[in-house]
């Protein structure tokens, strides 16, 4: 039974649409949903594994350079094959889940909410209009799913589709 949910919005708000994750976290935090912990950071790092282990489910909220519009919502399972990356200063969600499992015995379910962005290659603390629309759609989708703790059911139902439309 999912009771404690961790949401982590990550990205750089100074790099245009890369700030979608932290923006999502800021909006969720303002809602103060019961049983939902909200965190934000520039990127996922190893100590997030300890936080994952203290929750029943975790939602990784990031900007997506490519992929479905306005967003996708999918399960993520521990996968240490992603350990061979260009950097472990930052981690991918599947690798972080593997670390949480191996180091802290975490059994949390994992989900990725990837919000499609469009502008990444400059400095600027703003989201483009299309990214802002996608963010609104993602928030509209996620809030009732969090409230009702329907994360797994919704992700499984959406796995056959490229994207989950707003509900």
């Amino acid at each position: 039974m999912v009771q404690r949910v961790l949401t982590i919005g990550y990205g750089n708000p100074g790099r245009l649409d890369d700030g979608l994750g932290p923006a999502m976290a800021e909006m969720l935090e303002a809602l103060a949903l019961p049983g939902v912990t909200v965190d934000a950071d520039y990127q996922l790092t190893v100590e997030d594994a300890a936080a994952v282990a203290q929750h029943d489910a975790v939602v990784f909220m990031d900007a997506a350079v490519t992929g479905p519009e306005p967003f996708s919502f999918q399960r993520v399972v521990p996968d240490d094959r992603s350990a061979v990356t260009w950097s472990s200063h930052s981690l991918e969600p599947a690798m972080l889940m593997a670390l949480a499992r191996d180091l802290f015995g975490a059994g949390a379910e994992g989900f990725v909410l990837a919000v499609r962005g469009y502008e990444f290659d400059d400095f600027g603390e703003r989201l483009c209009d299309r990214a802002r629309d996608n963010l609104a759609a993602a928030l509209q989708f996620l809030v009732p799913v969090l409230r009702d703790r329907r994360l797994g059911a919704v992700a499984d139902a959406s796995s056959a589709r490229p994207a989950v439309p707003p509900v």
Partner: protein, 479 residues
């Protein structure tokens, strides 16, 4: 990748386990001898323009957008600079100590991440080990307690940052002329309950780094090594000081090149060279020129340059380090040992500060004579970090120049790449993944942070290409 004059070019398109974009190119001739090896770093100079026109008080927050790994270093360097803009460089004791606590927290978490999770796979499994094992999850499986200690050391540092700076993405603790919060007794007590465990882990990490270095010194001594100058801040009495002090440069033998240079006058001694093939500049000591005036920064340089460390356990470790090498160490792989000396120093400093009642002080901000130009320098985890600004009468930034730690190490990292390529790749019939990892090991010793925190899903694959004499791709891989 182009073939040049019949040479082959080996390219590592994004160095693994460093931050941001990096690319190594190794140019081979027909006999697979290394003709040229370079580290290319994609640096976003546009950030300095981004800051221009913004009010000075926003800058300590804005500069954190430079880097998702060391935002606190940029936050504090900018705050130190803006202290002078408001005439508030003589901070109150609570303000300075709270900033130092934040800085030592940053040093702790950054050094812990590097040692336990970035370099330990190379040290524990060997440079030639299967990359499927030689990674952070491999460490977690084979050495779970060590991996867990690394996570919890870093978490402790991050919690100190959160308590002193605020939110991770919007840290606001340091403001021009001081800080905007103190440390509550409840927060202090929570940190104190864990400090003994943190100290024990830091001591063990130092022992591990020392023992590894000594056990492998014969092979490590030459690995990517060369004589160099070293640059760092030192306190007025010559002690290591990671937050403040004057600039000291020494040569490879330890002779002082300049000493106690006022931060505001750094341009009298530091200049930057530009090369057509690199986005990143090459700093050097002006009097010596770019050919021989380049230097190293970071843990190795700091441990070499200081006269002593003002915490007992780290000082004993420094004396041991110095006795081992008979003076300054120019061994690239000794960065790891030096880094763990600093890790322990940071823990000792944190412990002392937590017992200081000034952290609960309420006199947090000062101001004085307004200025229009300013320099803030501190020792970031990766080395000397310089922020230089001009601010107009409307309080807006008109000029910003940042020399980040990785830029200060640019020449040294290129020399390390060249040395390892010549020693380990030259003449080999096949350039294997293990051989390429040797190059990465040398780069990782410097813990470079490549000023790029964009990491959105779907970006930055690792591609390795081997290009033949006529330009054809002989081999390539992505990870």
């Amino acid at each position: 990748m182009e073939a040049t004059n019949g040479y082959k070019r080996v390219s590592i398109d994004a160095v693994t386990r460093v931050e941001g974009h990096g690319k190594v190119t190794i140019l081979l001739d027909e006999e697979n001898r290394v003709r040229q090896a370079r580290l290319h770093i994609i640096e976003f100079r546009g950030f300095e323009r981004f800051v221009q026109g913004r009010p000075y008080w926003e800058v300590p927050v804005l500069v954190q957008r430079l880097c998702g790994i060391c935002p606190v270093s940029h936050h504090l360097a900018a705050a130190k600079a803006m202290d002078r803009i408001v005439g508030g460089e003589d901070l109150t004791p609570p303000a300075e100590k709270l900033r130092r606590l934040m800085h030592y927290g940053q040093m702790l978490q950054s050094h812990a991440l590097h040692f336990f999770h970035l370099c330990s796979p190379d040290l524990l499994f060997g440079f030639d080990a299967d990359p499927a094992v030689r990674n952070i999850v491999g460490v977690a499986r084979a050495h779970p307690e060590l991996a867990k200690q690394g996570v919890l050391l870093r978490k402790y540092g991050q919690e100190i940052i959160r308590a002193t700076a605020g939110k991770k993405v919007h840290g606001t603790g340091a403001i021009p002329g001081g800080v905007n919060r103190n440390l509550s007794l409840e927060e202090r007590d929570a940190f104190l309950t864990e400090i003994d465990q943190i100290s024990a882990w830091a001591t063990a990490a130092l022992q591990l780094a020392r023992d590894y270095t000594l056990a492998h010194l014969d092979s490590l001594a030459e690995f990517g090594s060369f004589d160099s100058n070293h640059l760092s801040l030192v306190r007025a009495d010559g002690a290591m000081d990671l937050y403040d002090g004057g600039l000291r440069a020494i040569d490879a033998s330890g002779a002082i090149l300049f000493d106690h240079l006022d931060n505001q006058r750094y341009l009298e001694q530091i200049a930057e060279d530009v090369r057509s093939w690199s986005y990143m500049k090459f700093p050097f000591i002006r009097d010596l020129g770019p050919e021989i005036g380049w230097y190293r920064v970071g843990p190795l340089a700091r441990v070499n340059a200081c006269d002593f460390i003002d915490t007992p356990e780290a000082e004993a470790a420094r004396a041991d380090f110095k006795a081992t090498f008979g003076g300054p160490s120019n061994v690239t792989m000794a960065y790891h040992w030096a880094r763990m000396i600093e890790l322990l120093h940071a823990v000792e400093k944190i412990r002392a500060l937590l017992h200081d009642p000034d952290l609960q002080g309420t006199d947090l901000v000062v101001s004085g004579q307004r200025r229009h130009e300013t320099v803030g320098i501190l020792e970031a985890p990766r080395g000397t970090l310089i922020h230089h600004y001009r601010v107009d009468d409307d309080d807006c930034v008109t000029m910003a120049n940042l020399i980040v730690s990785t830029t200060n190490n640019n020449e040294a990292m290129n020399r390390a790449v060249q040395k390892v390529a010549e020693d380990h790749i030259s003449g080999q019939p096949e350039v294997t993944e293990a051989l390429l990892n040797h190059v990465e090991v040398a780069i990782r010793a410097y813990d470079p942070c490549l000023s790029c925190a964009t990491h959105a899903l779907g970006r930055m694959p690792l591609a390795v290409q081997l290009i033949g004499p006529t330009g054809e791709v002989l081999a390539q891989g992505t990870r």
